[in-house]
Amino acid sequence: MSIVDCRLSIELFGVLTRLVGTSSIVVALRPGATVADVLMDLAAAHPETNDVLAECAFAIGDRLVPRTRAVRAGERLALLPPVSGG
């Protein structure tokens, strides 16, 4: 498996884009990692996101996914902070 195959793209929205300073990041993926594992790593790298991550929902494609879902290499995980449309 190449390095590229072991990576996960994370899309950030709302206030997360300001806290992290970008709207998209790529992280190394550990075998068997879940959404919760990815969040733990993100919070460790960006402690200022901790409170917002606790309130986020998560989506892959057009589906919401729970924190327990295993993430696979090549997927794009969207982190969705509390919404404020309208």
Binding site: F13, V15, D51, V52, E55, P81, P82, V83, S84, G85
Partner: protein
């Protein structure tokens, strides 16, 4: 497509909604207002997660039609940078009578505000900016029904899906 960067075309939306069974047409438009909690708003920017957002708005439309027995419901939401007075959202409902049409339009707008992944960033006249606090949409979150604060700036109000807030710059 329910989320678009293009200006919303009300005439086209109304034309698309025509239904001979309907005696009531209700249109709600949310426009950008120039103030929020004592601050002067210069402009704002909406961002969205479209893959889920488009699907959820269509589900809300179908849910609204079924719940209120109306003939038609369509909600469209603008994304990108909007100036004061521009329309951010339209809800169009057609029904046999006005009572259910008004109720359905209110329900649909509230549902979109509370459930669809759209984020509003306000830019103030003093040069500062803030994301408006919103509603947590994680169905597994223990405080899901209470809404949440996440703007980090104190710029917005908490709100709950069962108690729609009125903290935006819209002429609601």
């Amino acid at each position: 497509v329910r989320l678009t960067e293009d200006a919303l075309d009300l005439d086209a939306l109304i034309a698309d909604s025509c239904d001979p069974r309907s005696g009531a047409l209700v249109v709600f438009g949310g426009t950008v207002r120039n103030h929020h909690e004592g601050k002067t708003v210069a402009r704002l920017s909406y961002s969205a997660y479209a893959p889920l957002g488009n699907k959820l708005i269509q589900a809300i439309e179908a849910e609204t039609v079924a719940k209120f027995h109306v003939h038609y419901c369509r909600v469209v939401h603008r994304t990108g940078d909007l100036g004061i007075g521009e329309v951010a959202i339209y809800a169009i409902v057609r029904a046999a009578h006005r009572r259910e049409a008004f109720a359905a339009a209110q329900y649909a707008v509230d549902a979109v505000k509370h459930r669809v992944p759209v984020w509003k960033e306000e830019f103030y006249a003093d040069g500062s900016s803030a994301f408006v606090a919103g509603c947590c949409i994680d169905p597994c979150h223990p405080e899901r029904s209470e809404g949440s604060l996440a703007g980090g700036s104190g710029a917005g109000d908490a709100s709950s899906p069962s108690a729609p807030r009125d903290d935006t710059r819209k002429a609601a």
